[in-house]
Amino acid sequence: MEFFYAPWPWYVAGVVIGLTVPTLLLLGNKKLGISSTLRQICAACYPAKIPFFHYDWKKDSWNLFFAAGILLGGFLGGYVFANPEPVAVTAETKNLFLSWGLDDVEGLLPQELFNWENLITAKGFLLMVVGGFLVGFGTRYAGGCTSGHGILGLSALQWPSLVATACFFIGGIIVSHFVLPYILAL
């Protein structure tokens, strides 16, 4: 039974994620990409008078099914068969977390930061609400996220995707090194 609960090594997860690219292409010429589902949701729920949201979103509804599948996959892998052990980060990373005042490396994300009560604190608001906003704004502006550019675009040897992926990392490195420690100290 332990097999179902254990995390996968990077090469197993990597191969399965990589194989999603040809699977979607072979099933129906679909291009891996998830941030586009956020646009779909805007178009379906509140397009207002914004031309960017007036298109036939139902024609692309496959990706909403794909996203629902990801949610279900998360439910199976992270809830039903959740790994009972803490994420095996390196000792160096554990020390980094300790220096941030995080001593409880449980689950997949720190629940002492990501919880409902924290939403009304500056720290929680910045991490969850502002962070989420930047993810949604940035991915659409960039025309893709880590899957659309980072996996699919790079797999198709598209140089703009290499630029995008480099910028994702540059942005992430800047904030995690120079901004996040100050937010966590709030």
């Binding site: 589902t37 805007c42 990801i70 991915t139 996220c145």
Partner: protein, 136 residues
């Protein structure tokens, strides 16, 4: 229902993201601090597998299950790739999640991530609203 197959592919993809811990805030920070190979390993296997598959699909002129010729995915350059890419990166470091992992985190029972997700949808909506005023 012709879309059910995409739901199944999503389940496998979501399972790989979750079990590979690519949806973990801890793993993202570890990656941004270059303290472990784990996340880089995932990218460095996923991309060659994807690239090799696309190459094979092109060489063998494979068709979809319904007989359509498969087109090579194209991503065009615009300045949003840089500006938007950096903005997404900022958010990625804070939330520890990209859009795919947001779904998987909610599925894993971290229900407060619904707020992160709704905020991301608002971010996308705001982009749509401001699109014509942004450098492209």
């Amino acid at each position: 229902m012709k879309n059910i197959k995409y739901l199944l592919v999503g389940v496998v993809f979501g399972l790989a993201l979750t079990k590979g811990e690519a949806i973990s805030w801890y793993r993202m920070q570890e990656m941004f601090y270059f303290q472990n190979f784990h996340m880089y390993g995932i990218f460095m296997t996923a991309v060659p597998v994807g690239a090799l598959s696309i190459l094979l699909i092109q060489r063998l002129r494979l068709r979809t299950t319904s007989g359509e010729l498969i087109e090579k995915p194209v991503k065009k350059y615009h300045h949003g790739v840089v500006f938007g890419g950096l903005i997404f990166g900022f958010g990625w470091a804070l939330t520890g999640a990209c859009p795919g992992p947001l779904y998987a985190q909610i599925g894993s029972g971290y229900l407060v991530v619904i707020v992160v997700f709704l905020s991301a949808a608002l971010g996308t909506w705001t982009f749509g609203y401001l699109k014509d005023h942004l450098p492209d």
